[in-house]
Symmetry: C2
Subunit: 208 residues, 2 copies
């Protein structure tokens, strides 16, 4: 019952779980059955002690000396992260960036299916991107409510991003992946993650 | 002399500076001249005390009661992060993902110019993406050395990413933005940042 046990896991630990899941999935693809906190740590640049501690939050994963059963651990992590199901995702903004997001196959491959795309540009509405018809942003509220969509990706220009976020949240979205290079103000019950590759580059140039 | 003062800034603080820079740039675009740690904190969801502490590492930025001069702070932050210059960047992998990366205008707009693109697929070599000719990966080492390129973006499949990273590092690259969904093992003097939107989604589904 990991979802019961895991209700008080610190956010920083939750943030590492997808990384563990990714590394374990990769190990499974390489044909491996068993791994250790030591091996995972080496692959991820995280101490094995940290990994053992993180995974101990869920209870009973690792047995001292025998390592982790990869398939079992993958299954448990997916359950904890609630990615043992497919999630429907709405995409807002289908300019250059939004189209790139829509074309990225990694989302569907890992359980996130873009089921709707919205844009304010009437010349884009009605066109199809990777099988998803672009709708007018006017229909966003109705669509999100009817389909009970909880996850959205924002790929609109920075100046429109907050207004789009407000619309999405009003319609029931609770998790936003924001590609617009701006911080969003959202209520406490809404989660936001940011994808801004330039900020990642900028934190490395400091060291060059 | 921020670059002298800033030599011992904790990595976690460095990680927040690009976010401050982005928010300040946005304020400047809105026509603003002065801001406060309180306002920045509200925009970013960071406490004003944290912001004051972070910025105090550089000395003399804020004057109690008068707020921060936005243009001056932007200039100082750019200098600290070494983004007061243009950086040349190499891109490896021009499949769907790599092409999307190459087309993203935010890089050039914020000082990172893609000057070379590499792929192992001979059908792609010689073609041009946004004005950059795709070269064979065979020429990567020579090109990176000759142009003294320090920053690269990896957009190859996961199974090739480590080998590409090794090549890049051997040629002199010291900062890698990795879009492949795999952790890279690199020497201590090389910095890696990861862009994997699925891990960001997965850390939010936990809370849904």
């Amino acid at each position: 019952m990991p979802n019961v046990l895991s209700s008080n896991i610190p956010d920083i630990v939750i943030g590492r779980l997808p990384i563990y899941l990714r590394a374990l999935t990769r190990l499974a693809q390489e044909g491996r059955d068993v791994t250790s906190s030591h091996e995972l740590g080496q692959r991820l640049g995280i101490s094995s002690a940290q990994i053992r501690k993180d995974l101990s939050h869920f209870g009973g994963f690792g047995k001292q000396g025998t390592g982790y059963q990869i398939a079992y651990l993958i299954e448990q992590l997916k359950q904890v992260l609630k990615v043992d199901q497919e999630w429907e995702v709405a995409l807002v903004g289908v300019g250059d960036l939004g189209r790139a997001v829509a074309h990225y196959r990694g989302f569907a491959e890992r359980g996130f299916r873009i089921v709707a795309a919205f844009d304010t540009d009437s010349s884009k509405v009605g066109k199809s991107i990777d099988g998803v018809a672009v709708q007018s942003t006017d229909t966003l509220d109705t669509f999100i409510r009817e389909h009970k969509i909880k996850i959205a990706m924002i790929a609109v220009p920075a100046e429109s991003a907050q207004a789009v976020a407000d619309l999405l949240i009003e319609a029931g979205v609770r998790a936003i992946l924001n590609y617009a290079p701006i911080n969003l103000n959202v209520p406490d019950n809404v989660h936001v993650q940011y994808i801004d590759p330039v900020t990642h580059l900028q934190r490395m140039t400091y060291y060059l």
